[in-house]
Amino acid sequence: MSTSSTVHSTSRNFKNNARDQLANEDLQAALNKARGHFVDGRTTARDNLPEFDALRGQARDIKDHTLEHLDFYLEAYEEKVRESGGHVHWARTAADAQRIVLDICRSVGAKQVNKGKSMIGEEIEINKALEADGIRPIETDLGEYIIQLRGELPSHIIAPAVHLTKAQVETSFRENHTELDPDRVLEEPISLLDEARTILRKKYFEAEVGITGANLLIAETGSSIIVTNEGNGDLSQLIPKVHIVLASLEKIVPTLEDAATILRVLARSATGQEFSSYTTLSTGPKRAEDPDGPEQYHVVLLDNGRTDMIGTEFEEMLRCIRCGACMNHCPVYQSVGGHAYGWVYPGPMGSVLSPGLIGVDEAGHLPNASTFCGRCEEVCPMHIPLPKMMRHWREREFESHLSPGSARVGLGVWAFFARRPRLYQLATGLQMRMLARMGRKRGRLSSLPLAGGWTKYRELPAPQGRTFQSRWRSGERVR
């Protein structure tokens, strides 16, 4: 799998990151508040649509078919984009994508770029690249705007500021919007929204370039689709002279009909809405008869390691539509939040995708930090077997001797005995009797050498005494 030199991740520090986030009271409060909203929303949306599960199956099949004929559909798409007057740029790496975007911006002398929400923008760190080139990126999605003010990264793929409380947002607004009346009331979420809207409205007209992501690309028409709830994407892409779509290549689907099927499961899985408030299709630049629209329309198609996943045990990950349901339902994500994961994609989907994109040596903790509870797979609208693929990463790690030495030795000793039943029974029988004796008075142990991970937070229940097998073999039966 390829690694990109432009990415900065702290995934190696996952354990420490997690510890910090567990101690972060604001984060814990924010997560608690959001959790019920997402989980209940999805459940209701699913219950209200009897064909929901059938649609999931169709959505999966559409993506599987597309991935099987990926080159065909991508070429067809490129052709259609060209016919409609737009340009497709192929970017093999994050650095390529950065360079392409910068070249386009420079060609029109851009000073400011307005951005709709784009995870690919995060993946290629486009804001940093723009800033280094003297171009001001303005995030127009409310959540992205908030974290841009705070100099943070998104902590969720559809709700970038989900890790913040309302009070934290209010503080950031007061610190940044100093031109406004310091005595204004900002308690309600709606007043925060209104304030952001007022500030952003002015900025929409200042940019030369608008960058958006894409939820789907349509081979049949050469269109890109974005879904938003704020309508900010429309303003970002329609007003400036140039519209750049940043998309990874697996966003492609064959037809509009296919896109409609996927959209029917997307919002329901993400927020529990039947449909997002805005579903915007763009096809090429402004035509002669159009009243408005951009003069130039560019699509940057990013690979960045994705095609390397095709034909491997990770291929199914490319079905992901970035709905976020897996993280909304993940007890690990819900404990530590998105920043702990240390790179762009958090939660179960990130635990599978990140090792593929930045390397398992960098992101190896992520697929390990799962109980395999299976809730992510259960809710994934695209039926992606996330736990199975996390296990495959562990296998790759184990094979390449990346897993920690102490764990390997422990496992090796255990496996030696597990493969030799008689020795196993002898050894465990002795151990259990010893443990039982140690815990006889209280029935449990509060500390035990080599079991610190367990007894740090829990008692260890003492064994009842002799093992079941030894009691059974010596003739004991049910009373």
Binding site: S370, F372, R394, L411, M432, R458, Q464, Q469
Partner: protein
């Protein structure tokens, strides 16, 4: 000898080592239902510690050993959704490309069941003859729930236990934070998960917590006891077998075994 099915008990490593009474409860429940129960000797563990650590080679060796030891029976039954799921769902996947073992793994997988669902779905037991006075709550262990679809079965049987009142647990389907080696590799996260679980358990006001998997039970019992909560924790099979008067998990034994 009954002429009912011949069942091999896969006792599971945690029951074998920590809580043999669950094994005896499983034997009783199946014998009461007319089964002949045997305990094959060559059993250690289903291999999940290796499997979930990415050690495919050892897992496959253990899987073959289990298949060889258990394939001569009508059924294989384990008092754990997680180990039953390992044998019934994962062995066939692991050995799918092994011409000598693929078929054997699939056949054994098809005959392997988790205890409670075996009683209700295969043996079609509607009620057990047991009494247990008190209010209990029930946690759905992840593998049993999501790999094997076990949800209604334990509730149906608990419903028939005299004197038992079940109070449902909020978020009963959310992981308790055990996850095998997860709980020792990521203790801080695991602790947060089991703390959330404990909060919901306490909110039910139940005196007893039941579940069908020893790993989850030891995790929750250990946390409840560390934090001084007064909730007793038992495997559901013990209550169904009328063995609910054993000291609960982590409580002192009456006399040494």
């Amino acid at each position: 000898m009954s002429d009912g099915p011949r069942v091999a008990l896969f006792v599971t490593c945690l029951v074998d080592l920590f809580r043999p009474s669950v094994g005896f409860a499983a034997v009783k429940l199946m014998q009461d239902a007319g089964c002949t129960v045997e305990v094959p000797e060559a059993q250690t563990c289903c291999g999940q510690p290796a499997y979930n650590s990415g050690d495919r080679k050892d897992t496959i060796a253990i899987a073959r050993q289990v298949i060889a030891a258990f394939e001569g029976f009508d059924y294989v039954v384990a008092p754990s959704g997680s180990c039953a799921g390992m044998i019934s769902k994962h062995y066939p996947e692991l050995l799918a490309n092994d011409p000598d073992w693929a078929e054997r793994a699939t056949v054994l997988g098809g005959r392997t069941h988790e205890l409670i669902s075996f009683l209700t779905d295969v043996l079609e037991i509607k009620a057990v003859d047991a009494a247990f006075a008190g209010t209990v709550t029930y946690h759905d262990s992840c593998s049993g729930l999501r790999e094997l679809g076990i949800h209604a079965q334990p509730r149906a049987l608990l419903d028939g236990v005299e004197g038992l009142h079940l109070r449902e647990l909020e978020d009963a389907n959310v992981c308790c934070g055990f996850g095998g080696t997860f709980c020792v590799k990521y203790p801080d996260i695991s602790n947060n998960m089991v703390a959330n679980k404990m909060e919901k358990i306490l909110a039910t006001g139940a005196e007893t917590l039941l579940a069908g998997d020893m790993g989850c039970l030891m995790n929750m019992a250990g946390k409840l006891q560390r934090d001084g909560a007064n909730v007793r924790v038992r495997h559901v099979a013990e209550v169904l077998a009328g063995m609910g008067d054993e000291p609960a998990i982590g409580e002192p034994q009456k006399s040494e075994g």
